[in-house]
Amino acid sequence: MSSLLEGLAFQKRDSLLHKLDPRVKLFYALAVMVMAGVHNKMLPLLVMLLAQAPLAALGKIVRLWARTLKASLPLVLLIIGTNLFFTWLRGSLTDLYIVEDILALAVRFLVFVASFSIFTLTTSPDDLSLALEQMGVPYSFCFMFRAALRFTPVMVREARTTMDAQRARGLELDKGGPIARARRYIPILIPLIVNAITRAWSMAEAMESRAWGASRKRTSLYVLRLRGRDYLAFSAVLFSLIMAFYAKFYLKFPYIIPIIRSALGI
């Protein structure tokens, strides 16, 4: 779980993707979500997944991106498992094509993770909040969002330290039944929550002493401006989106099972 979170954290690199306007990247992530959302067959979803690998390479984040995908595997298996189970329960698990459709659902989820992770890995929380701000989202909301993202790794680290400290006092986290186990997390949750609140208070005080919210009109040190490459990237995403809709309504995708079969000669 924590490696899934880490895989979504911003990585500073010098790449074309990093330099793109955050609004374009946000548009990309949302567009891919829509594209994957409207399709439900294996072939197009697989294409969408694979087509993102070159993008990850372009952003110099292939290893982290792959790690994020790997970290989401337990969830993928869960999706496949529950779907298989309920389809079987309804008695409609009759042939391999249905299995392919269920696998396609899992691939769709991977497409979501893939695009979202490309977006978050290459966009700093600051850039993102700047983008939201300049799209008219209220500043306090953007700030909240940014602070939440920035403090996630801090909280993860703190949770680890607290766990260590309590284990050093004899707490055994994985002993006993589920209820006993849940109760054992109390000694970890309380310090974590208390510290988060304390930190929020002292942060609020520190911010107010630096005149947070004193003027209605905030100025920004950086102003986002779309450049040639941003328009180019935006057009490419828009084009893919239109193509995806076109494909959905006018093309019929074959199942890949027969293709694999004939390729293998079985």
């Binding site: 284990r167 006092r169 055994e172």
Partner: protein, 277 residues
């Protein structure tokens, strides 16, 4: 039987090599201080002692038991580790409950819990706070509660990570008294940056200097803490007393410099004066 750290390497999952071949022995009733710059790997080393961290290479034996083959709870019964920041662990509604927490985990019976908590409260001078929420205490008091919550099961090896951090002078003196009272019955291991805190201890501890995941020196306090080269490698400043004597020697006076506290300094200067007269 001792704790034996044998050629231990440790790499964090993030790829940082925090320990690079550490070897160290802590005897029964030993008194050891570990010093070194930020990021030297001191906290990481302490965590290997009760099995929170298992070495990537090498091994740690606690009374002959390899830490890889025992649970943290089993090891903690012998090796009591007090963490640097009490805010990371205090969670009960009263100080008394907080101190009893570990005893319940270890399965002590109620009668013994009562007795031991009483002893810990008394040893650390916390009786007046027994019904107070530990979260409401000052930083120094919280640190004492954290110490009490480990001391209470009387571990054979008591391990303290930066016990003086954020404490005022009076608190430090009190802490020194408490630690001195504990010496002789159990081993005490302290990690600290506070060199003046170390030099005023009687008996003097053994000192190990760490830098960059290695132990760069180990020996008597008066030898290690007066060596200018070692100290600079460990980002430490020479204590004030030897500093004065070093200055005298630089001025050409034949004075001893392997001296750490005022009484010894006085004697060194007297014998210097006698020699000059």
């Amino acid at each position: 039987m001792p704790i034996e750290v044998q050629y231990v390497w440790y790499t964090y999952p993030s790829g940082i090599e925090a320990l690079k071949g550490i070897s160290l022995t802590v005897e029964d009733r030993d008194f050891l201080v570990i010093m070194g710059p930020n990021g030297a790997g001191k906290t990481t080393l302490l965590k290997t002692l009760n099995g929170l961290i298992k070495p990537t290479k090498g091994r740690v034996l606690v009374d002959g038991v390899d830490t890889r083959h025992a649970t943290v709870a089993e090891l903690s019964r012998k090796v009591g580790l007090v963490f640097q920041n009490p805010d990371h662990q205090l969670f009960c509604s009263t100080v008394e409950e907080e101190i009893a927490f570990a005893l319940r985990n270890f399965g002590f019976n109620e009668e013994e819990i009562k007795e031991r908590v009483e002893w810990a409260l008394e040893t650390l001078g916390l009786e007046e706070y027994r019904d107070v929420s530990p979260l409401m205490l000052s930083g120094g008091e919280k640190k004492r509660v954290a110490l009490a919550s480990v001391l209470v099961w009387d571990p054979k090896y008591l391990v303290l990570d930066e016990p003086t951090l954020g404490q005022d002078y009076a608190q430090k003196e009190k802490l020194r008294e408490i630690i001195c009272g504990l010496l002789g019955q159990r081993a005490v291991i302290i990690v600290t940056h506070d060199i003046e805190f170390v030099v005023d201890f009687r008996p003097r501890p053994r000192v190990a200097l760490m830098a960059d995941g290695r132990i760069i020196a180990e020996g008597k306090a008066e030898e290690v803490l007066t060596d200018p080269e070692l100290l600079s490698r460990a980002s430490l400043v020479r204590p004030q007393v030897p500093e004065v004597l070093f200055n005298l020697r630089e001025k050409g006076l034949p004075v001893r410099t392997d001296v750490l506290d005022l009484v010894e300094a006085r004697d060194a200067i007297i014998s210097l004066a006698r020699g000059l007269a």
